[in-house]
């Protein structure tokens, strides 16, 4: 069977310890929370850290806290199950709770963490394979090789953003806390991502994602729709996060539509969102937004299904996500 390479396993007790250990560790050292992404990647030799710094002993990183305004902030190492079953999340952020259940399988939801999902490695048919398989295609740009086999003429890697929580959190306007050797910072989650399959995060190597802040749950709705082959296990081949702020008459004041699984970063479709503003989420407005999103999305041949079909799925999937918004509450 595939075995993990050898590595040193460290368990810091505090965030400061974790940062210090990471700074002292050799290059390539990795933080690990649930390990559901990192360990399989290590078995396939995608990442070969000589030191792995585990975060499970740091209690504060796991806490889910509700503020006075009802806004919830989630520690990065809270498991997906903990997020999904937290009473305040379920009441105030039902779409997020449901999305947790769409990730992989119940068993992996018990191990995997929200922080791990937010930082999930980008994926590709040519990359998520074991070492020997990758050797037989002469490897690829993302690890050990030169060429991006999705677009061989391309100077960049096209591995695809594949985390279910991300399109929704970006649509909701969540912010994230990063703690590093040079201090702390808090940024909109959208700013965490870069449109590059290899350098897909703006997070610095030694920075630690500690907390995800959700906006105060008033006056808006959100939804997430996922396309995949099967009802479990599978990563999204398309994810649609939608958010809309409505006034007392049900007229849309602001909206965001975010596509996942179509590029190396989440894709915010401004034009589609604009089509909703001023509408009351009517069928016509939804159809127009779906059409505009369809025009924007350009999936590549790097996941399950044909890229033609994945492109075609943008229209009905955006429509269904927006219909969820319209029927919500």
């Amino acid at each position: 069977m595939m075995r993990l390479p050898k590595f040193r396993f460290q368990v810091p007790a505090t965030v400061d310890d974790a940062i210090a250990q990471k700074r002292e560790a050799p290059p390539g050292a990795a933080y690990v929370a649930g390990g559901t992404d990192l360990y399989p990647n290590m078995k396939r030799r995608h990442q070969e850290p000589s030191v792995v710094i585990a975060l499970h002993a740091i209690d504060e990183l796991r806490r889910i806290v509700t503020g006075a305004d009802g806004a919830v902030s989630i520690g990065a190492t809270a498991t997906l199950t903990e997020v999904a079953t937290h009473p305040d999340v379920r009441v105030a952020y039902p779409a997020l709770a449901e999305t947790m259940h769409l990730i992989s399988t119940p068993i992996l939801q018990n191990m995997g963490t929200i922080g791990g999902n937010v930082l999930l490695d980008t994926r590709c048919n040519y990359y998520d394979q074991n070492y020997e398989w990758r050797k037989s295609i002469d490897f690829c740009m993302k690890k050990d090789g030169e060429v991006c086999w999705v677009a061989p003429q391309s100077p960049r890697c096209w591995a695809v953003q594949s985390a279910d929580s991300v399109p929704l959190l970006v649509a909701m306007g969540a912010t994230v806390d990063l703690v590093g050797p040079d201090g702390d910072r808090s940024i909109p989650i959208e700013g965490l991502y870069r449109d590059d399959g290899i350098l897909y995060l703006s997070k610095q190597q030694d920075e630690l994602l500690t907390r995800i802040h959700l906006p105060s749950p008033n006056g808006w709705r959100s939804s997430y729709r996922k396309v995949r082959r099967r009802g479990a296990f599978d990563f999204p081949v398309l994810g649609v996060g939608a958010w809309a702020e409505l006034d007392a008459d049900g007229v849309v004041q602001g909206a965001r539509i975010v596509l996942g699984g179509v590029a190396s970063s989440p894709v915010v479709v401004e034009t589609a969102a604009q089509a909703l503003v001023g509408s009351s989420l009517s069928a016509e407005a939804i159809d127009e937004a779906a059409e505009l999103a369809w025009k924007t999305g350009r999936p590549l041949d790097n996941t399950d299904f044909t890229l033609y079909w994945r492109k075609e799925m943008i229209r009905p999937t955006v429509r269904r996500a927006l219909e969820d918004l319209a029927s919500h509450r």
């Binding site: 595939m2 075995r3 398989w133 050797k135 037989s136 082959r229 099967r230 009802g231 479990a232 399950d304």
Partner: protein, 822 residues
């Protein structure tokens, strides 16, 4: 159909059965659910080494050189093997001895092994493989059927019926052209069945242990220890008497562990060289490379129908993509043409089939071996014909059923035949008559049937010996031990032995010791393939048990001074049927018998009846008994996305007699599950533009249904005892898979009016067909043309009703002469 002599059909089942027909637990259930079952990878021996194999990273190449020096010097490495260390070829079929344990001169697919390392642990063996340098001189590769038949690429093998064509078959039974000319409707279709693989939960594993007294033991997760035994003796050039092969319980087989495998030979040889036990457990990627799964098959079918739906003539062609080696491929090719005739009478039948070599992992037998593809084609084809004839698809089939106790056009001898009862059952239970064609858009019902063999009539290699043997040992404490070469792959074969023996001897099946699949301890059984085990080992066990019973009865009758017919055995007691007060325990009866006869041991064996077919190729298709199945599937199609979900499957299976109904229903449900995967998503496909590398050799990306995709299954066992089966039993392990894909495809048509002449029925294919429908084009997605091939003149075999005797018209004529049209 022509009536033939048949033994009188007397019901062998009666109300005296106490074990057979009862839903008892499996005898190995407790060990399985408590984790006590030892699978091959659970075995550890002192001083054991671990093996890894280095595999080709190129699909087709000459091996220029292999340098193993750095690997040999790597700390912890004990031995390194290359191809020339094991020069003798092997293969499951005598006609296809085309594999080597490790490639010698060339590699034929990505994953073909070129070297092997034994080291102190797996990680060290992995590191050492990285230190082996192989220089390849690449050859053009062959990607698929079309590519193989264009004749432009170098030959993958030096043998075959034509360039890169492994096997060509052409057989004609009666005048098909005349039959088509007589037809009211001639229907012609082209369909494709994508390749897929078994996906057993347990990866293949093997442990070789060679002892200094020149004896070798191999434990392996194999369905066919007898054939592995033969291959080891051949390749290692050892006397079979010095080799012992033990098949560990298989964590799933489905046909994927039926060949002798290179890793089995390699660990045996590494153990011989190192004098230490050597184990290998393949990783999941390597399991995909072992493959031997469903052949991708392109099929062309042309059938003449009378207005009432009866078949005047059928012409069937199949093109199989065999992958890089022979495996069971010759048999697979014949099977794609064998069983078209056993469900609905075919007055005249012509079959042409060929199998090509390609640079991909070898295909072979997967559940249904070579028959799910043609069954899919035939049942979709009939659905289309029924619509054109204005007939209800269920009624059309019911009106034209092969007669029991008849012989088909291609000389298959049918015994019991319960298909009519199966169709009637699923039609009634699914509400077919009120709902077919009447459900709202997006919802549909589809019906299909199938049939499968209960064991192949002939063994893999020619011999006149039994296919299955059982030895029974009775000891004076009342203990009974059954010895049989059969292999438990989860299907319940150990349990069947216990139930049959317990039934005959009137004892508790859970007190019987079952010793199976050990070539030193157990008599030969050919293996767990072709749905043969219940019928063949069941009959062998029945004979052994009846012989033991006879010894006990004679001893007890003598003691009581009563005629033997008065002695009965049940509930671990022996009693006088006319004097119930007169009893003794089973153990006391054994003591009497051992006192009278000496040590009590009996044997039983089974050889299938001879088939009436005498033509070349008649060896594939005959069986002691055929099972039948009928299915109605209810599907929902999302017209916006093309996604298909199967909601319900009603399936009736003619099993003859269920030895254990719950285990039988489990086999039906497992078949439905596997058929669902093949119908909707499973694809063993390759990146043609990237070196013919497997698309996704992982359980995450090779899509197999989860519980979310699984449908409700309503199973009905139809019991019409077959005279050739033990207690009337026929197979259930494979046949129920066959009607599932065509029933689903027919259901999709009923739901949305679009035809997908190809499985898997992926959303993109359904959407493509729907888009054509919206544009008023033919609402179909599927293959567009068959490759050109000049078929040899077919061997002519007159059918029974044309005065045929099972022989070809000109027996001397050999097949061959087919070729590639440039």
């Amino acid at each position: 159909m022509a009536p033939v002599e048949s033994p009188p059909r007397k019901a062998q089942t009666d109300d005296r059965l106490r074990v057979v027909g009862t839903s008892l637990p499996k005898v190995d259930a407790v060990a399985k659910v408590t984790g006590r079952t030892k699978f091959a990878d659970d075995l550890f021996l002192p001083r054991m080494l671990h093996c890894r194999m280095l595999r080709s990273t190129t699909p087709h190449a000459e091996i220029v050189s292999i340098d193993t020096q750095r690997a040999e010097e790597h700390p912890g490495v004990v031995a390194v093997l290359v191809g020339r260390d094991l020069p003798t070829p092997y293969g499951i079929l005598p006609v296809s001895q085309d594999e080597h344990a490790l490639c010698i001169d060339k590699v034929r697919f990505i994953g073909d092994p070129v070297a092997a390392v034994a080291a102190i642990d797996e990680a060290t063996a992995f590191e050492a493989c990285e230190l082996i340098e192989v220089e390849y001189a690449p050859l053009d590769s062959v990607a698929d059927i079309e590519d193989a038949l264009d004749g432009d690429d170098p030959a993958i093998h030096a043998y075959g019926d034509a360039h890169n064509v492994h096997k060509v078959v052409a057989l004609e039974f009666g005048d098909v052209e005349a039959g088509l000319a007589d037809a009211h409707l001639v229907q012609e279709d082209l369909l494709f069945y994508e390749g897929n693989t078994h996906l057993p939960m347990e990866q293949h594993a093997a442990l070789g242990d060679y002892r200094p007294d020149d004896r070798l033991t191999l434990w392996s997760s194999s369905q066919t220890p007898h054939y592995v035994h033969r291959a080891l003796a051949t390749v290692l050039e050892m006397a079979p008497s010095r080799i012992r092969v033990i098949a560990t319980p298989n964590g799933g087989g489905f046909g994927g562990k039926s060949d002798p495998f290179n890793h089995e030979i390699v660990v045996a040889e590494l153990s011989r060289r190192t004098g230490r036990p050597v184990k290998i457990c393949l990783n999941r990627e390597e399991v995909f490379y072992c493959h031997r799964g469903r052949h991708p098959t392109l099929m062309w079918i042309k059938t003449g129908f009378k207005q009432d739906g009866s078949i005047t003539g059928m012409h069937f062609r199949s093109f199989l993509d065999g992958g890089a080696y022979g495996s069971y491929g010759v048999a697979s090719t014949y099977y794609t043409g064998a069983l078209q005739t056993v469900t609905y009478p075919v007055a005249a039948y012509k079959f042409e089939g060929l199998r090509v070599f390609t640079n991909k992992p070898p295909c072979g037998p997967k559940r249904g071996h070579g028959t799910p593809q043609p069954r899919f084609a035939l049942e979709v084809h009939i659905d289309k014909a029924a619509e054109k004839l204005g007939l209800d698809p269920a009624r059309m089939r019911l009106d034209h059923l092969v007669e029991p106790d008849s012989v088909t056009a291609n000389y298959l001898k049918i015994g019991s035949m319960g298909l009519g009862a199966c169709i009637e059952k699923v039609v009634a239970e699914s509400g077919w008559n009120d709902r077919y064609g009447k459900l709202p858009e997006g919802k549909g019902l589809g019906l299909a049937c199938g049939s499968y063999i209960s064991g192949a009539g002939l063994p893999i290699y020619w011999n006149n010996m039994p296919h299955s043997g059982v030895q029974l040992k009775l000891d004076r404490g009342g203990g009974v031990t059954v010895f049989c070469g059969s292999t438990e792959i989860g299907q319940g074969s150990d349990s069947v032995l216990a139930y049959v023996v317990a039934e005959v001897l009137g004892i508790n099946p859970f007190e019987i010791d079952i010793i199976t699949a050990d070539t030193s301890l157990t008599p030969v059984d050919l293996g767990s393939y072709s749905s043969r085990v219940t019928l063949m080992t069941g009959n062998a066990a029945l004979q052994a048990a009846e012989r033991a019973r006879e010894l006990l009865v004679r001893s007890v009758a003598e003691k009581w001074d009563v005629p033997g017919v008065r002695v009965a055995m049940a509930d671990r007691q022996v009693f006088d049927v006319q004097d119930p007060e007169c009893t003794m325990t089973f153990a006391e009866a054994v003591v009497l018998a051992e006192s009278k006869f000496g040590t009590i041991g009996t044997v039983g064996s089974y050889t299938p009846p001879r088939s009436p077919g005498r033509y070349r190729g008649a060896g594939v298709g005959p069986s002691p008994a055929y099972s039948y199945s009928a299915t109605v599937a209810e599907v929902s199609v999302d017209v916006d996305t093309g996604e298909t979900h199967v909601d319900d499957v009603w399936i009736a299976h003619d099993i003859g007699q269920a030895i254990n109904p719950v285990v039988a229903i489990g086999q039906v449900e497992g078949s439905v599950y596997m058929g669902l995967g093949e119908a909707l998503m499973e694809e063993m496909t390759y990146r043609g533009n990237r070196n013919i590398v497997h698309h996704h050799p992982s359980m995450l990306e090779y899509k197999s249904p989860t519980t979310h995709e699984m449908c409700r299954v309503h199973t009905y066992l139809i019991e019409d005892p077959d005279p050739n089966g033990p207690f009337g039993a026929k197979e259930v392990g494979q046949g129920p898979l066959l009607p599932i894909p065509p029933a689903i495809v027919n259901g999709v048509y009923d739901a949305v009016g679009a035809r997908v002449d190809e499985v898997p029925v992926t959303p993109q294919k359904v959407l493509a067909a729907l888009k054509r429908k919206a544009k008023q084009e033919e609402p179909r997605e599927g293959p567009k043309k068959a490759p050109q091939f000049v078929w040899p003149e077919a061997i002519q075999v007159p059918p029974p009703w044309a005065g045929g005797d099972g022989r070809a018209r000109d027996e001397r004529r050999e097949i061959g002469g087919g070729g590639v049209r440039k």
